[in-house]
Protein backbone atom coordinates (compact mmCIF):
# COMPACT_ATOMS: atom_id res chain seq x y z
CA UNK A 1 0.00 0.00 0.00
CA UNK A 2 1.36 3.41 -0.98
CA UNK A 3 0.06 6.57 0.60
CA UNK A 4 0.40 10.22 -0.44
CA UNK A 5 -0.70 12.43 2.47
CA UNK A 6 -1.84 15.58 0.67
CA UNK A 7 -2.17 17.70 3.83
CA UNK A 8 -0.01 17.21 6.90
CA UNK A 9 1.87 19.75 9.05
CA UNK A 10 5.10 17.86 9.59
CA UNK A 11 6.83 20.88 11.13
CA UNK A 12 4.81 20.02 14.25
CA UNK A 13 5.71 16.32 14.21
CA UNK A 14 8.68 14.32 15.41
CA UNK A 15 11.07 12.07 13.54
CA UNK A 16 9.29 9.13 15.19
CA UNK A 17 6.24 10.13 13.18
CA UNK A 18 8.27 10.06 9.96
CA UNK A 19 9.47 6.53 10.82
CA UNK A 20 5.98 5.29 11.58
CA UNK A 21 4.53 6.96 8.50
CA UNK A 22 7.09 5.25 6.29
CA UNK A 23 6.34 1.91 7.92
CA UNK A 24 2.63 2.51 7.21
CA UNK A 25 3.31 3.13 3.50
CA UNK A 26 3.51 6.93 3.35
CA UNK A 27 5.97 7.86 0.61
CA UNK A 28 5.12 11.48 -0.14
CA UNK A 29 3.46 14.38 1.66
CA UNK A 30 2.34 17.94 1.00
CA UNK A 31 2.70 20.35 3.91
CA UNK A 32 0.51 23.41 3.44
CA UNK A 33 1.41 26.62 5.23
CA UNK A 34 -0.99 27.38 8.04
CA UNK A 35 -0.85 29.10 11.39
CA UNK A 36 1.25 27.74 14.22
CA UNK A 37 -1.17 27.91 17.13
CA UNK A 38 0.50 31.12 18.27
CA UNK A 39 -0.15 34.29 16.23
CA UNK A 40 2.82 35.69 14.32
CA UNK A 41 3.53 39.40 14.36
CA UNK A 42 5.74 40.08 11.35
CA UNK A 43 6.36 39.10 7.75
CA UNK A 44 9.80 37.83 8.78
CA UNK A 45 8.23 35.06 10.85
CA UNK A 46 6.44 33.89 7.72
CA UNK A 47 9.48 33.99 5.45
CA UNK A 48 11.48 31.95 7.98
CA UNK A 49 8.57 29.49 8.11
CA UNK A 50 8.46 29.29 4.30
CA UNK A 51 12.25 28.71 4.28
CA UNK A 52 11.76 25.86 6.69
CA UNK A 53 9.07 24.31 4.46
CA UNK A 54 11.44 24.62 1.47
CA UNK A 55 14.67 23.59 3.19
CA UNK A 56 14.85 21.80 6.49
CA UNK A 57 11.55 19.94 6.43
CA UNK A 58 12.00 18.26 3.02
CA UNK A 59 15.52 17.36 4.08
CA UNK A 60 14.31 15.86 7.35
CA UNK A 61 11.61 13.91 5.48
CA UNK A 62 14.13 12.60 2.94
CA UNK A 63 16.18 11.06 5.75
CA UNK A 64 13.19 8.82 6.49
CA UNK A 65 12.32 7.91 2.90
CA UNK A 66 9.49 10.41 2.42
CA UNK A 67 9.25 13.00 -0.36
CA UNK A 68 8.09 16.35 1.05
CA UNK A 69 6.38 19.07 -0.99
CA UNK A 70 4.64 22.18 0.26
CA UNK A 71 1.86 24.65 -0.45
CA UNK A 72 2.48 28.27 0.55
CA UNK A 73 0.05 31.04 1.44
CA UNK A 74 -1.08 33.59 3.99
CA UNK A 75 -3.60 31.56 5.99
CA UNK A 76 -7.14 32.90 6.56
CA UNK A 77 -6.75 33.40 10.32
CA UNK A 78 -3.69 35.62 10.02
CA UNK A 79 -5.01 37.39 6.93
CA UNK A 80 -7.01 39.35 9.52
CA UNK A 81 -3.86 40.74 11.19
CA UNK A 82 -2.56 43.91 9.53
CA UNK A 83 0.97 43.04 10.69
CA UNK A 84 0.90 39.90 8.52
CA UNK A 85 -0.90 41.15 5.43
CA UNK A 86 2.31 42.07 3.58
CA UNK A 87 3.05 38.34 3.32
CA UNK A 88 0.99 38.66 0.11
CA UNK A 89 3.79 40.83 -1.32
CA UNK A 90 6.58 38.31 -0.69
CA UNK A 91 4.60 35.25 -1.81
CA UNK A 92 5.30 35.60 -5.58
CA UNK A 93 9.01 35.02 -5.03
CA UNK A 94 8.38 31.89 -2.95
CA UNK A 95 5.69 30.50 -5.27
CA UNK A 96 8.36 30.03 -7.95
CA UNK A 97 10.22 27.40 -5.93
CA UNK A 98 10.47 23.82 -7.16
CA UNK A 99 8.92 22.22 -4.09
CA UNK A 100 5.81 24.42 -4.11
CA UNK A 101 2.97 22.42 -5.66
CA UNK A 102 -0.01 24.59 -4.65
CA UNK A 103 -1.15 27.84 -3.09
CA UNK A 104 -2.58 26.98 0.32
CA UNK A 105 -4.11 26.87 2.81
CA UNK A 106 -6.32 29.73 1.71
CA UNK A 107 -10.05 30.28 2.26
CA UNK A 108 -12.14 31.38 5.21
CA UNK A 109 -11.89 31.31 8.98
CA UNK A 110 -14.28 33.97 10.32
CA UNK A 111 -15.45 35.09 6.84
CA UNK A 112 -14.33 38.73 7.19
CA UNK A 113 -13.74 41.33 4.45
CA UNK A 114 -9.99 40.94 5.07
CA UNK A 115 -10.29 37.20 4.41
CA UNK A 116 -12.25 37.95 1.22
CA UNK A 117 -9.40 40.11 -0.03
CA UNK A 118 -6.62 37.65 0.82
CA UNK A 119 -8.57 34.69 -0.60
CA UNK A 120 -9.27 36.38 -3.94
CA UNK A 121 -5.72 37.74 -4.20
CA UNK A 122 -4.23 34.32 -3.58
CA UNK A 123 -6.51 32.55 -6.07
CA UNK A 124 -5.21 35.11 -8.58
CA UNK A 125 -1.63 34.25 -7.54
CA UNK A 126 -2.40 30.57 -8.13
CA UNK A 127 -3.53 31.36 -11.67
CA UNK A 128 -0.53 33.59 -12.29
CA UNK A 129 2.01 31.01 -11.09
CA UNK A 130 0.29 28.02 -12.69
CA UNK A 131 -0.45 26.37 -9.35
CA UNK A 132 -3.53 24.56 -8.03
CA UNK A 133 -5.10 25.82 -4.80
CA UNK A 134 -5.73 24.07 -1.47
CA UNK A 135 -8.75 25.65 0.20
CA UNK A 136 -9.51 25.32 3.90
CA UNK A 137 -13.18 25.42 4.93
CA UNK A 138 -14.07 27.06 8.24
CA UNK A 139 -14.89 25.25 11.46
CA UNK A 140 -17.72 27.63 12.36
CA UNK A 141 -20.64 28.03 9.93
CA UNK A 142 -19.06 25.38 7.71
CA UNK A 143 -22.01 25.12 5.33
CA UNK A 144 -22.27 28.86 4.77
CA UNK A 145 -18.50 29.21 4.54
CA UNK A 146 -18.24 26.36 2.03
CA UNK A 147 -20.96 27.81 -0.20
CA UNK A 148 -19.25 31.18 -0.15
CA UNK A 149 -15.90 29.49 -0.86
CA UNK A 150 -17.32 27.86 -3.98
CA UNK A 151 -18.77 31.19 -5.16
CA UNK A 152 -15.41 32.92 -4.78
CA UNK A 153 -13.64 30.07 -6.60
CA UNK A 154 -16.16 30.31 -9.45
CA UNK A 155 -15.65 34.08 -9.72
CA UNK A 156 -11.86 33.83 -9.62
CA UNK A 157 -11.42 32.21 -13.00
CA UNK A 158 -9.35 29.29 -11.70
CA UNK A 159 -10.79 26.04 -13.03
CA UNK A 160 -12.60 23.95 -10.40
CA UNK A 161 -10.39 20.97 -11.34
CA UNK A 162 -7.44 22.96 -9.98
CA UNK A 163 -9.05 23.48 -6.56
CA UNK A 164 -9.11 21.09 -3.62
CA UNK A 165 -11.71 22.04 -1.01
CA UNK A 166 -10.66 20.54 2.28
CA UNK A 167 -12.02 19.51 5.70
CA UNK A 168 -15.36 18.42 4.24
CA UNK A 169 -18.05 16.47 6.06
CA UNK A 170 -21.51 15.01 5.44
CA UNK A 171 -23.11 18.44 5.20
CA UNK A 172 -20.73 19.96 2.66
CA UNK A 173 -19.81 17.06 0.37
CA UNK A 174 -22.62 17.43 -2.19
CA UNK A 175 -22.09 21.13 -2.88
CA UNK A 176 -18.41 20.53 -3.59
CA UNK A 177 -19.15 17.47 -5.74
CA UNK A 178 -21.44 19.59 -7.90
CA UNK A 179 -18.86 22.35 -8.20
CA UNK A 180 -16.30 20.14 -9.97
CA UNK A 181 -13.64 20.83 -7.32
CA UNK A 182 -11.69 18.02 -5.66
CA UNK A 183 -12.96 16.90 -2.24
CA UNK A 184 -10.64 16.72 0.74
CA UNK A 185 -11.38 14.86 3.99
CA UNK A 186 -9.24 15.31 7.08
CA UNK A 187 -9.38 12.17 9.19
CA UNK A 188 -9.09 13.14 12.83
CA UNK A 189 -9.26 11.02 15.97
CA UNK A 190 -12.74 12.30 16.75
CA UNK A 191 -13.62 15.61 15.13
CA UNK A 192 -13.56 16.68 11.45
CA UNK A 193 -14.04 13.23 9.87
CA UNK A 194 -13.44 9.63 10.92
CA UNK A 195 -12.38 6.59 8.89
CA UNK A 196 -15.74 4.85 9.26
CA UNK A 197 -17.73 7.94 8.30
CA UNK A 198 -15.48 8.43 5.29
CA UNK A 199 -16.06 4.85 4.14
CA UNK A 200 -19.78 5.61 4.21
CA UNK A 201 -19.25 8.69 2.04
CA UNK A 202 -17.11 6.73 -0.44
CA UNK A 203 -19.87 4.10 -0.70
CA UNK A 204 -22.41 6.77 -1.44
CA UNK A 205 -20.42 9.11 -3.70
CA UNK A 206 -17.68 6.91 -5.19
CA UNK A 207 -13.90 7.36 -5.22
CA UNK A 208 -13.46 9.92 -8.01
CA UNK A 209 -12.02 13.30 -6.92
CA UNK A 210 -11.99 12.00 -3.33
CA UNK A 211 -8.83 12.80 -1.35
CA UNK A 212 -7.96 11.76 2.19
CA UNK A 213 -5.47 13.46 4.50
CA UNK A 214 -4.45 13.34 8.14
CA UNK A 215 -4.05 17.14 8.48
CA UNK A 216 -1.95 16.18 11.49
CA UNK A 217 -0.48 19.17 13.30
CA UNK A 218 0.30 20.30 16.84
CA UNK A 219 -3.22 19.45 18.03
CA UNK A 220 -4.95 16.16 18.80
CA UNK A 221 -4.31 14.43 15.49
CA UNK A 222 -2.57 11.38 14.06
CA UNK A 223 -0.50 11.12 10.86
CA UNK A 224 -1.28 7.38 10.65
CA UNK A 225 -5.02 7.91 10.15
CA UNK A 226 -4.54 7.85 6.37
CA UNK A 227 -3.36 4.27 6.76
CA UNK A 228 -6.20 3.46 9.17
CA UNK A 229 -8.66 4.80 6.60
CA UNK A 230 -7.14 2.64 3.88
CA UNK A 231 -7.54 -0.39 6.16
CA UNK A 232 -11.14 0.59 6.86
CA UNK A 233 -11.80 0.77 3.11
CA UNK A 234 -10.40 -2.74 2.61
CA UNK A 235 -12.39 -4.06 5.57
CA UNK A 236 -15.53 -2.57 4.06
CA UNK A 237 -14.98 -4.43 0.81
CA UNK A 238 -13.25 -1.83 -1.34
CA UNK A 239 -10.53 -3.30 -3.57
CA UNK A 240 -6.81 -2.52 -3.48
CA UNK A 241 -7.20 -0.46 -6.63
CA UNK A 242 -9.88 1.73 -5.00
CA UNK A 243 -7.55 2.29 -2.07
CA UNK A 244 -4.67 3.17 -4.39
CA UNK A 245 -6.87 5.64 -6.26
CA UNK A 246 -7.93 7.49 -3.11
CA UNK A 247 -4.62 7.26 -1.23
CA UNK A 248 -2.17 7.82 -4.08
CA UNK A 249 -3.43 8.44 -7.62
CA UNK A 250 -6.01 11.12 -6.76
CA UNK A 251 -3.66 13.41 -4.78
CA UNK A 252 -0.85 12.79 -7.30
CA UNK A 253 -3.19 13.78 -10.15
CA UNK A 254 -4.33 16.89 -8.30
CA UNK A 255 -0.87 18.20 -7.39
CA UNK A 256 0.64 17.13 -10.72
CA UNK A 257 -1.25 20.05 -12.19
CA UNK A 258 1.54 22.21 -10.78
CA UNK A 259 4.00 20.60 -13.19
CA UNK A 260 6.40 20.34 -10.25
CA UNK A 261 5.53 17.00 -8.70
CA UNK A 262 8.51 14.92 -9.71
CA UNK A 263 8.35 11.71 -7.73
CA UNK A 264 10.65 9.94 -10.18
CA UNK A 265 13.49 12.44 -9.89
CA UNK A 266 13.98 11.85 -6.21
CA UNK A 267 17.51 10.64 -6.71
CA UNK A 268 20.02 13.37 -7.48
CA UNK A 269 23.30 12.18 -8.98
CA UNK A 270 25.12 13.11 -5.81
CA UNK A 271 22.98 11.21 -3.38
CA UNK A 272 25.18 8.25 -2.81
CA UNK A 273 28.86 8.93 -3.10
CA UNK A 274 30.87 5.70 -3.20
CA UNK A 275 28.45 4.12 -0.76
CA UNK A 276 29.65 6.60 1.78
CA UNK A 277 26.68 8.82 2.36
CA UNK A 278 25.76 7.34 5.70
CA UNK A 279 24.43 9.81 8.17
CA UNK A 280 26.17 9.34 11.44
CA UNK A 281 23.40 10.40 13.75
CA UNK A 282 23.74 14.11 14.43
CA UNK A 283 25.50 15.64 17.39
Amino acid sequence: MRIFDPHVHMTSRTTDDYRRMFEAGVRAVVEPAFWLGQPRTSVGSFTDYFDSLLGWEPYRASLYGIRHYCALALNPKEANDPRCRDVLNVLPRFLEKDNVVAVGEIGYDSVTPEEDTAFAAQLALAVEHGLPALVHTPHRDKEGGTRRTLDVVAESGIGPARVLVDHLNETTVEAVLESGCWLGFSIYPDTKMTADRLVGLLRRYGTERMIVNSAADWGHSDPLLTHATARAMLDAGFGADDVDQVMWRNPVEFYSQSGRLDLGAHQAPDQDFAGNSVRRGGS
Binding site: F22, D51, Q271
Partner: protein, 273 residues
Protein backbone atom coordinates in the same frame (compact mmCIF):
# COMPACT_ATOMS: atom_id res chain seq x y z
CA UNK B 1 38.67 33.10 -12.13
CA UNK B 2 39.91 30.47 -9.72
CA UNK B 3 41.60 27.49 -11.29
CA UNK B 4 43.05 25.78 -8.25
CA UNK B 5 43.63 22.14 -9.03
CA UNK B 6 41.33 19.64 -7.42
CA UNK B 7 42.80 18.56 -4.10
CA UNK B 8 40.95 15.29 -3.76
CA UNK B 9 39.51 13.99 -6.98
CA UNK B 10 36.80 11.37 -7.21
CA UNK B 11 39.15 9.26 -9.28
CA UNK B 12 42.12 9.40 -6.91
CA UNK B 13 41.70 7.80 -3.53
CA UNK B 14 43.13 10.06 -0.82
CA UNK B 15 45.82 8.88 1.56
CA UNK B 16 43.48 8.47 4.46
CA UNK B 17 41.12 6.09 2.77
CA UNK B 18 42.52 2.78 3.92
CA UNK B 19 39.61 0.60 2.88
CA UNK B 20 38.39 1.13 -0.67
CA UNK B 21 35.12 -0.71 -0.03
CA UNK B 22 31.99 1.29 0.77
CA UNK B 23 32.08 2.41 4.35
CA UNK B 24 28.95 2.25 6.41
CA UNK B 25 28.17 2.52 10.04
CA UNK B 26 26.70 -0.70 11.35
CA UNK B 27 22.93 -0.65 11.20
CA UNK B 28 22.61 1.81 8.35
CA UNK B 29 21.89 0.45 4.95
CA UNK B 30 19.05 1.30 2.67
CA UNK B 31 18.95 4.52 0.69
CA UNK B 32 15.86 6.64 0.48
CA UNK B 33 15.68 6.93 -3.31
CA UNK B 34 15.38 3.17 -3.64
CA UNK B 35 12.61 3.24 -1.09
CA UNK B 36 10.71 5.77 -3.14
CA UNK B 37 11.23 3.82 -6.33
CA UNK B 38 9.68 0.86 -4.52
CA UNK B 39 6.72 3.01 -3.60
CA UNK B 40 6.15 4.03 -7.18
CA UNK B 41 6.20 0.46 -8.30
CA UNK B 42 3.44 -0.15 -5.79
CA UNK B 43 5.60 -2.50 -3.77
CA UNK B 44 6.30 -0.21 -0.84
CA UNK B 45 4.38 -2.10 1.81
CA UNK B 46 6.39 -5.28 1.40
CA UNK B 47 9.77 -3.59 1.05
CA UNK B 48 12.18 -3.28 3.94
CA UNK B 49 11.78 0.18 5.41
CA UNK B 50 14.80 2.47 4.95
CA UNK B 51 14.27 3.75 8.43
CA UNK B 52 17.28 2.81 10.48
CA UNK B 53 18.78 4.11 13.70
CA UNK B 54 21.27 6.04 11.53
CA UNK B 55 19.30 7.50 8.61
CA UNK B 56 20.95 7.97 5.27
CA UNK B 57 21.99 11.42 4.17
CA UNK B 58 21.48 12.49 0.56
CA UNK B 59 24.99 13.95 0.39
CA UNK B 60 26.87 14.85 -2.06
CA UNK B 61 29.82 14.81 -4.32
CA UNK B 62 33.58 14.76 -3.95
CA UNK B 63 35.32 18.04 -3.36
CA UNK B 64 35.27 19.05 -7.00
CA UNK B 65 37.56 21.91 -7.88
CA UNK B 66 35.92 25.20 -8.84
CA UNK B 67 35.61 24.84 -12.57
CA UNK B 68 35.92 27.81 -14.82
CA UNK B 69 32.52 28.86 -16.09
CA UNK B 70 33.41 28.04 -19.71
CA UNK B 71 33.84 24.36 -18.81
CA UNK B 72 30.39 24.29 -17.18
CA UNK B 73 28.91 26.12 -20.15
CA UNK B 74 30.51 23.67 -22.61
CA UNK B 75 29.08 20.74 -20.65
CA UNK B 76 25.60 21.80 -21.80
CA UNK B 77 26.40 21.14 -25.48
CA UNK B 78 23.51 19.08 -26.84
CA UNK B 79 21.74 19.11 -23.48
CA UNK B 80 17.94 19.59 -23.57
CA UNK B 81 18.27 22.57 -21.23
CA UNK B 82 20.80 24.33 -23.45
CA UNK B 83 18.42 26.55 -25.48
CA UNK B 84 16.80 27.95 -22.34
CA UNK B 85 20.17 28.43 -20.70
CA UNK B 86 21.59 30.20 -23.76
CA UNK B 87 18.68 32.62 -23.93
CA UNK B 88 18.76 33.55 -20.25
CA UNK B 89 22.54 33.90 -20.16
CA UNK B 90 22.23 36.41 -23.00
CA UNK B 91 19.42 38.33 -21.34
CA UNK B 92 20.74 38.40 -17.80
CA UNK B 93 23.50 41.02 -18.02
CA UNK B 94 20.91 43.54 -19.26
CA UNK B 95 18.35 42.65 -16.62
CA UNK B 96 20.15 41.36 -13.54
CA UNK B 97 17.01 41.64 -11.39
CA UNK B 98 15.62 38.62 -13.26
CA UNK B 99 18.15 36.39 -11.56
CA UNK B 100 15.80 35.49 -8.67
CA UNK B 101 13.06 34.05 -10.87
CA UNK B 102 15.51 32.40 -13.29
CA UNK B 103 17.47 30.88 -10.42
CA UNK B 104 14.28 29.34 -9.02
CA UNK B 105 13.24 27.99 -12.42
CA UNK B 106 16.63 26.52 -13.42
CA UNK B 107 16.01 22.94 -12.25
CA UNK B 108 12.63 22.79 -13.97
CA UNK B 109 14.11 24.13 -17.21
CA UNK B 110 17.44 22.28 -17.24
CA UNK B 111 16.65 19.14 -15.24
CA UNK B 112 18.54 17.70 -12.29
CA UNK B 113 20.56 14.97 -14.00
CA UNK B 114 24.33 14.64 -13.96
CA UNK B 115 26.42 16.43 -16.59
CA UNK B 116 28.82 13.72 -17.79
CA UNK B 117 31.42 16.22 -19.07
CA UNK B 118 31.89 17.72 -15.61
CA UNK B 119 31.94 14.99 -12.96
CA UNK B 120 30.38 16.06 -9.69
CA UNK B 121 28.03 18.55 -11.34
CA UNK B 122 24.36 18.17 -12.15
CA UNK B 123 22.48 20.34 -14.62
CA UNK B 124 20.53 22.51 -12.17
CA UNK B 125 23.55 23.45 -10.05
CA UNK B 126 25.75 24.09 -13.08
CA UNK B 127 23.05 26.27 -14.67
CA UNK B 128 22.63 28.26 -11.47
CA UNK B 129 26.37 28.80 -11.15
CA UNK B 130 26.41 30.06 -14.74
CA UNK B 131 23.53 32.45 -14.00
CA UNK B 132 25.50 34.05 -11.17
CA UNK B 133 28.63 34.15 -13.30
CA UNK B 134 26.70 35.83 -16.13
CA UNK B 135 25.63 38.73 -13.94
CA UNK B 136 29.05 40.25 -14.56
CA UNK B 137 28.24 42.94 -12.08
CA UNK B 138 30.66 45.29 -10.39
CA UNK B 139 31.98 43.56 -7.31
CA UNK B 140 29.83 45.24 -4.66
CA UNK B 141 26.65 44.76 -6.69
CA UNK B 142 27.44 41.11 -7.33
CA UNK B 143 27.94 40.42 -3.64
CA UNK B 144 24.62 41.98 -2.62
CA UNK B 145 22.73 40.19 -5.39
CA UNK B 146 24.35 36.87 -4.50
CA UNK B 147 23.37 37.40 -0.87
CA UNK B 148 19.79 38.05 -1.91
CA UNK B 149 19.62 34.96 -4.11
CA UNK B 150 20.93 32.90 -1.18
CA UNK B 151 18.52 34.51 1.28
CA UNK B 152 15.47 33.72 -0.84
CA UNK B 153 16.77 30.40 -2.16
CA UNK B 154 15.45 26.97 -1.26
CA UNK B 155 18.03 24.42 -0.14
CA UNK B 156 19.05 23.46 -3.68
CA UNK B 157 19.46 27.10 -4.68
CA UNK B 158 21.48 27.87 -1.55
CA UNK B 159 23.75 24.95 -2.34
CA UNK B 160 24.31 26.25 -5.88
CA UNK B 161 25.23 29.68 -4.52
CA UNK B 162 27.78 28.08 -2.19
CA UNK B 163 29.30 26.16 -5.08
CA UNK B 164 29.40 29.32 -7.21
CA UNK B 165 31.19 31.44 -4.61
CA UNK B 166 34.77 30.54 -5.58
CA UNK B 167 34.00 31.60 -9.17
CA UNK B 168 32.78 35.04 -8.22
CA UNK B 169 34.80 38.19 -7.69
CA UNK B 170 35.59 38.97 -4.06
CA UNK B 171 33.82 35.83 -2.95
CA UNK B 172 35.42 36.09 0.48
CA UNK B 173 33.03 38.99 1.11
CA UNK B 174 30.25 36.39 1.15
CA UNK B 175 31.79 34.48 4.06
CA UNK B 176 28.59 35.03 6.04
CA UNK B 177 26.81 32.70 3.63
CA UNK B 178 29.31 29.96 4.45
CA UNK B 179 28.72 30.58 8.16
CA UNK B 180 24.97 30.24 7.56
CA UNK B 181 25.50 26.93 5.79
CA UNK B 182 27.78 25.60 8.54
CA UNK B 183 25.12 26.56 11.13
CA UNK B 184 22.46 24.44 9.43
CA UNK B 185 22.14 20.72 10.05
CA UNK B 186 21.49 20.14 6.36
CA UNK B 187 24.30 17.88 5.15
CA UNK B 188 23.87 19.08 1.56
CA UNK B 189 24.63 22.69 2.53
CA UNK B 190 27.45 21.73 4.85
CA UNK B 191 29.03 19.60 2.12
CA UNK B 192 28.97 22.56 -0.28
CA UNK B 193 30.40 24.89 2.37
CA UNK B 194 33.46 22.69 3.05
CA UNK B 195 34.22 22.38 -0.67
CA UNK B 196 36.43 24.86 -2.53
CA UNK B 197 34.42 27.81 -1.13
CA UNK B 198 35.77 26.99 2.33
CA UNK B 199 38.95 28.88 1.44
CA UNK B 200 37.05 31.93 2.70
CA UNK B 201 36.37 30.37 6.10
CA UNK B 202 38.61 31.35 9.00
CA UNK B 203 40.54 28.49 10.55
CA UNK B 204 38.40 28.34 13.71
CA UNK B 205 35.14 28.06 11.78
CA UNK B 206 36.74 25.69 9.28
CA UNK B 207 37.71 23.26 12.09
CA UNK B 208 34.17 23.45 13.48
CA UNK B 209 32.86 22.67 10.00
CA UNK B 210 35.13 19.64 9.66
CA UNK B 211 33.99 18.28 13.02
CA UNK B 212 30.40 18.94 12.04
CA UNK B 213 30.95 16.88 8.89
CA UNK B 214 32.01 13.99 11.12
CA UNK B 215 28.89 14.42 13.25
CA UNK B 216 26.25 14.78 10.54
CA UNK B 217 27.76 12.29 8.12
CA UNK B 218 29.38 14.36 5.39
CA UNK B 219 32.33 12.23 4.21
CA UNK B 220 35.68 13.96 4.82
CA UNK B 221 36.49 13.17 1.20
CA UNK B 222 34.35 16.21 0.40
CA UNK B 223 36.46 18.63 2.45
CA UNK B 224 38.69 20.68 0.16
CA UNK B 225 42.34 21.24 1.18
CA UNK B 226 41.95 18.93 4.16
CA UNK B 227 45.55 17.79 4.05
CA UNK B 228 46.90 21.33 4.00
CA UNK B 229 44.58 22.88 6.55
CA UNK B 230 44.32 20.12 9.16
CA UNK B 231 46.39 21.30 12.12
CA UNK B 232 47.26 20.46 15.73
CA UNK B 233 44.06 22.02 17.04
CA UNK B 234 41.95 19.89 14.73
CA UNK B 235 43.99 16.89 15.86
CA UNK B 236 43.16 17.68 19.50
CA UNK B 237 39.46 18.11 18.67
CA UNK B 238 39.35 14.85 16.73
CA UNK B 239 41.14 13.02 19.53
CA UNK B 240 38.50 14.24 21.96
CA UNK B 241 35.75 13.11 19.63
CA UNK B 242 37.30 9.65 19.31
CA UNK B 243 37.70 9.36 23.13
CA UNK B 244 34.02 10.25 23.58
CA UNK B 245 32.88 7.71 21.03
CA UNK B 246 35.05 4.95 22.51
CA UNK B 247 33.89 5.75 26.03
CA UNK B 248 30.31 5.41 24.80
CA UNK B 249 31.16 2.25 22.85
CA UNK B 250 29.86 3.93 19.72
CA UNK B 251 31.49 3.48 16.33
CA UNK B 252 34.12 5.94 15.15
CA UNK B 253 33.71 6.82 11.47
CA UNK B 254 36.60 5.39 9.59
CA UNK B 255 37.57 8.56 7.75
CA UNK B 256 37.71 10.51 11.03
CA UNK B 257 39.87 7.82 12.66
CA UNK B 258 42.17 7.73 9.64
CA UNK B 259 42.57 11.50 9.65
CA UNK B 260 43.40 11.46 13.35
CA UNK B 261 46.03 8.74 12.85
CA UNK B 262 47.55 10.74 10.02
CA UNK B 263 47.71 13.93 12.09
CA UNK B 264 49.22 12.04 15.04
CA UNK B 265 51.86 10.52 12.76
CA UNK B 266 52.70 13.94 11.36
CA UNK B 267 53.00 15.64 14.74
CA UNK B 268 54.96 12.84 16.48
CA UNK B 269 58.70 13.71 16.78
CA UNK B 270 60.62 11.51 14.41
CA UNK B 271 62.00 8.51 16.21
CA UNK B 272 65.57 7.90 15.12
CA UNK B 273 68.21 5.47 16.36
Amino acid sequence: MVTTPMPHGAESVPWWVTDPSPRQVAGAAVSTPEALAGAEAGSGAGAAPPVTPEPVSPVAQPAAAPLPAPALRAAFAGHPGEPWLASVLDALPGEPALVGVLFAAAARRCGRGALPAVPGWCADEAARVLLLDALGLPEAGAVSLVREVYRFGDAAEKRAVLRALPLLPRFDAAVELLHDAVRTNDARLLAAAVGPAARALGQDMWRQAVLKCVFVGVPLLLVADLDHRADAVLERMLAGFVRERRAARRPVPQDAAALLRHLEDKSRPEEKN
